[in-house]
């Protein structure tokens, strides 16, 4: 435990800015993964245990696209579109067979795919750590805000994630498609009876969830190292986020992700050995005091 470092940081504006930025980075990436998880759970009533694999594929797709084209925008697009397609196929071919069956089967199918996807990545890209490298456009002088160092790429990452959150939130609340999705989450039988193809909606929601995770992976690729199995710790953390924020709530996922991001960022100063522990501790406190999560409506 190193409380001096923590209080020292809290009183210095430079350190405060640096740590807050890094908390935002962690939080925003987690949000993109967690919001897909929570969306899929809200509509399909399954927890996609292999959601971390989409994050991983997003990163690898982006790296490969970047190496071939050299275009950062194309890399992001490839990461997101590739995982959306993967999500659609995965849902239609496999997950759709285990809806309504017991949790054990759903977990087993996803568990199988965690094993398969990790090995596929190992086969195609090799088992070693890979790095995409920072795109040339962002290799510029970092910004100095109140004495703290903020690389421009971080601002882009936070911005993209915030825009995604906004589009998603408004899209679900205001558009016709959003309305149909919410209706399908509430009563799929009735939606289907009204002549709407629920299979398509399920596939679409899964693709959307996969795309968001893939986008997170693609955004993370320049700043994190890539390795098979990189998705699993992200999955666990984003699950903790959804538990804290409340399953099915987009706002909850955002708040939960930012809280976890800050806990990780500041916790690593004060409790370097117990950073992960702090996260779990926080989850336990929320679970015990509010079992539905901070923004959950349904009874957990």
């Amino acid at each position: 435990m190193d409380l001096d470092a923590l209080t020292g940081c809290l009183t210095s504006s430079a350190c405060l800015v640096t740590q807050t930025t890094s908390g935002f980075i962690i939080g925003m990436l987690l949000f993109l993964v967690a919001v897909g998880l929570t969306l899929i759970f809200g509509v399909l009533k399954v927890v996609n245990f292999s959601h971390g694999a989409f994050y991983m594929f997003g990163a690898y797709f982006a790296m490969t696209a970047y190496q071939f084209t050299g275009s950062f925008a194309l890399a992001m697009l490839c990461g997101a579109a590739g995982t959306a397609l993967l999500g659609l196929v995965f849902e239609r071919v496999f997950m759709s067979r285990v809806y309504g069956r017991d949790v054990l089967m759903q977990l087993l199918v996803c568990y199988a795919f965690v094993l398969i996807f990790d090995d596929v990545v190992r086969m195609v890209w090799g088992p070693e750590f890979k790095s995409m490298g920072m795109p040339a456009a962002f290799q510029v002088m970092p910004l100095f805000i109140a004495g703290g160092v903020v690389p421009p790429y971080y601002l882009l990452l936070i911005g993209v994630a915030l825009v995604a959150a906004l589009i998603l939130g408004l899209g679900l609340a205001r558009t016709r498609i959003g309305k149909v999705i919410r209706a399908a989450a509430h009563n799929p039988g009735m939606v289907s009876a009204l002549g709407i193809n629920t299979g398509l909606i399920y596939g679409g929601v899964f693709a959307l969830g996969g795309m968001l995770a893939g986008l997170a992976g693609a955004l993370a690729a320049p700043v994190r190292s890539l390795t098979p199995g990189m998705g699993f710790s992200v999955l666990i953390e984003s699950f903790i986020v959804t538990v804290i924020g409340g399953m099915g709530s987009i706002l909850g996922a955002l708040i939960g992700a930012l809280l976890i991001g800050m806990i990780r960022s500041f916790g690593s100063l004060g409790f370097p050995l117990f950073t992960e522990g702090l996260m779990y501790l926080f989850m336990v406190i929320v679970l015990v005091s509010r079992p539905t999560g901070l923004f959950g409506k349904e009874v957990a």
Partner: protein
């Protein structure tokens, strides 16, 4: 298991008549099983076979205890492997650091597991199934990351190295391979016997009732939370015993023992053997170990092969092996009944 009540109706009368028979019958079967296992080295002296049985004992206790949760109570734990790891590390550390006798370390490890399982269980068993699965998984990851980061105690990612001292006690020398084999068999048989008695006890039937309809159970006056917590802790104790056998076998403890994949493997083993029979997980364990050993020898990408096998069972067959055996026996009985 929510989809099984129909099968249960088939299975219930036969198990009731079985438990109505004298209790010593089960004890006798256990004794015979132990005798057969213990005499095995006289017939086949292959070290490979003995190693296989020891690993079966470790994984089998773990998988069967998981079945008490998954199959009997309907608690899909995805973090049961944490108690396997806890048993291995608790026992290994106790032997390395304190130098107490083996039985003392054994009991002390069970005591530690009891306390940890009580705390984690008290938080988890209230949760609905998918939450329960993931929060147990999160606790597993917490224990795993604690093992990795607490390097001064656990050796971090290197694990407990340098071997676990195994001083002889009461004429049993666990550093002798044959003694270790017999001790593992004894622990396996005693563990299975105890778990069978739990499953066939009134408490065991309370658990089945909670699985089939928790609301009804609480209406007839059962404290569901207490019953779930009790079986959670009991299952953890047996899983820790499996972990201790594993620690003795490899003479060490490694972070992989506490990693989530152990829990995944446990669930897979249960699926493979089937959760509707008591011995299903044991059959699953043997199958899984054979499968794992073969696949590891043939290819380095054993995740793909295992994944496809899991998909084949989960989406294709939808049942475990023992479920098919039970069905087959029932069909035969029906047919012979028609004839006679």
């Amino acid at each position: 298991m929510t989809e099984l009540p129909a099968d249960k109706a088939l299975d219930m009368p036969s198990s009731e008549t079985r438990s109505a028979r004298p209790r010593y019958r089960d004890a006798l079967i256990a004794l015979v099983a132990f005798a057969v296992l213990a005499l095995l080295p006289m017939l086949f002296s292959s070290k490979f076979l003995l190693d296989f049985v020891i690993r079966c004992a470790a994984y089998g206790l773990f998988a069967t205890s998981l079945n008490l949760l998954v199959g009997y109570t309907g608690l899909t734990s995805f973090g049961h492997g944490m108690f396997f790891g806890l048993g291995a590390y608790g026992f290994g550390l106790m032997m390395q650091r304190t130098g107490v006798a083996v039985p003392v370390a054994f009991v002390a490890t069970l005591a530690i597991t009891f306390v940890v399982a009580l705390v984690i269980g008290a938080i988890c068993v209230r949760l609905k199934e998918i939450y329960f699965a993931f929060v147990t998984l999160a606790f597993q990851m917490l224990i795993h990351s604690t093992i990795l980061s607490w390097v001064s105690l656990t050796g971090g990612d290197q694990g407990l190295r340098g071997g676990i001292p195994r001083p002889a006690f009461l004429g049993i020398d666990l550093s002798n391979h044959l003694h270790l084999y017999v001790a593992s068999c004894a622990l396996l048989v005693v563990g299975l016997f105890l778990m069978y008695r739990i499953a066939q006890s009134p408490f065991g039937y309370t658990l089945r009732m909670i699985r089939d309809n928790a609301t009804r159970a609480s209406f007839v006056g059962i404290d569901v939370w207490r019953a779930k917590l009790t079986i959670f802790v009991l299952a953890a104790l047996f899983a820790a015993t499996g972990g201790m056998i594993m620690a003795l076998f490899v003479s060490g403890a490694y972070p992989e023992f506490a990693y989530w994949t152990i829990s995944g493997e446990g669930i897979f083993i249960n699926m493979l053997g089937g959760v509707t029979t008591f011995l299903g997980p044991m059959v699953g364990t043997a199958l899984f170990l054979i499968l794992n050993d073969t696949v590891t020898r043939v290819t380095e990408y054993h995740g793909i092969v295992l994944g496809i096998v899991i998909l084949f069972f989960a989406i294709g067959l939808r049942k475990g092996l023992m479920d098919f055996v039970i069905e087959w026996i029932a069909q035969r009985r029906e047919r012979s009944g028609e004839r006679g």
